[in-house]
Amino acid sequence: MKIRTMKYFAAQGLRGIWRNRLMSFASIATISSCLMIVGIFYCVAVNIDYMLEILEETAGITVFYTKEKYNEKTIEDIKEKINKIDNVKEVKYISPEEALESEKAEWGEYASLLDGLEEDNPLPPSFELTLEDIRYQKDVISQLNEINGIEVRYFEEETKILISFNNIIRIISLVLILVLCFIGIMLMDNTIRLTVYIRKTEINIMKYIGATDWFIRWPFIIEGIIIGLIGAIIPLGIVWAFYNFITQLIYEKNTVLQNILAFRTTEEIFSVLTPVSLIIGVSIGIIGSSISIRRYLKV
């Protein structure tokens, strides 16, 4: 292929977009819509995942002593043993006194009700564990059980529910994203098919006067690439603006929400979303143009 032919293709691709404004607009709108959906879902899903991660991290295991009281040495020993277990992030010793304090704090203004207990504290000393990931709970517990002198109390049922809940949310997001991508591809395919259908006459004429398939295809592919790029940049811009706006709004205005909501930074989100969107957009553009054109090249 000669260079001037390449230049010609590029020029034709650009011209094609302008001369077939309606179809170009339709294609860009479709790609934009799909990538907008993908973008929104990605933001939502990533942040839900992030919040769940934080939630999981804070879910702990409490290790109880039996009634006997150990001396400091033994406590340090046990602490070290626990620390050696895989996936344990932090261990904290809580003496019976501290346990009572925190109980009182929780009872708030009715703390006086617990006044009599200081002398004969019924609360046992305990260790509080934080895990790297709540999923390793089982492993950690079986190893804890091997350490002498401690009995493990943990919230098996609650943990199970938390894990299942997280999984459900993840599965729902994943299914939704897949469904949306599928719908998006179908819509895109439709639009491209329609635009190519509109140009059927044009393609046929080119064939009748001796143009090779590639000669016909190239300008369409270049058009596809440009349309794909534009169609990716628009939703990226919109999602970026919205994401910034919403996260800042929540951080600035709503103190209560801050406690339970945590957002990935705009940079983190878009370092993934930008290349993914651009690749998807351009791919849809290229694949769309070239596949759909095949039908009409069979003349």
């Binding site: 292929m1 001037r4 077939n20 143009a211 000669f215």
Partner: protein
């Protein structure tokens, strides 16, 4: 150069367009194909172009049996044939100039050649003033002449023209016929499907007549058949 051996074409809906047609057109010939409406003239041209496939028979162009041509070779067959279609088939999104230039871009002609040849053929068909107009801004005859300009711009060895003067007044039609005669005298084989009695009678060239798909007459220096 062009040879048909027992070619039969029946369309999918059962319309018989050509029945057992055999003919041979030599290099450098000038031939008219005549016949009443629906007698199969356009079908004959479409067969040479591989726009439609024959049901039976062989078509040989330049010693190549095109009925057995590989799909990827079809564009190169078509480049050897300049064609004026009965329905023009101009690219609606390109101007007159671009439509003609497109035929040259396909064969990767240099921009210099394009800039020299396109204005030349446009002036040959009398369309220099309309170079920048789009097809939907042209009169019927102007569209037809654009189609002719596109067909001849690459100097193809064979020129097929389906009713190239149907939308032209007699004077313009004669000018076009002179252009075609010129091209023919420079060695191009010219095949014209036409209804124009005047032209056929005055040109005194080979006349091939079809009647309901059957070749009924083939005279080296004939005239239009149905004198009334």
């Amino acid at each position: 150069m062009i040879e048909l051996n027992n070619v039969t074409k029946t369309y999918d809906n059962g319309a018989d367009a050509l029945l057992n047609v055999s003919l041979k057109i030599e290099k450098g010939e000038f031939a008219f194909i005549i016949g009443s409406s629906g007698s199969g003239k356009s079908t004959l041209i479409k067969l040479l172009l591989k726009e439609v496939e024959p049901n039976h028979g062989d078509i040989i162009i330049n010693n190549k049996n095109i009925t057995k041509l590989k799909k990827s070779r079809i564009p190169y067959l078509r480049r050897g044939l300049g064609v004026v279609f009965q329905d023009f088939r101009l690219l609606p999104n390109k101007t007159v100039y671009e439509n003609v230039a497109f035929a040259m871009q396909i064969v990767e002609a240099s921009p210099k050649e394009i800039r020299r040849n396109v204005p030349m053929v446009l002036s040959m068909v009398g369309l220099s003033r309309k170079a920048r107009a789009y097809p939907n801004q042209l009169s019927g005859g102007e569209q037809q002449r654009t189609a002719l300009a596109r067909a001849i711009v690459n100097n193809p060895p064979i020129l097929l023209a389906d009713e190239p003067t149907g939308n032209l007044d007699p004077k313009t039609a004669w000018e076009i016929m002179k252009v075609l005669k010129d091209i023919n005298s420079r060695g191009t084989t010219v095949v014209i499907a036409t209804h124009d009695k005047d032209i056929v009678n005055k040109m005194k060239k080979r006349v091939i007549e079809l009647q309901e798909g059957i070749l009924v007459r083939d005279l080296p220096k004939g005239g239009y058949s149905d004198e009334d």
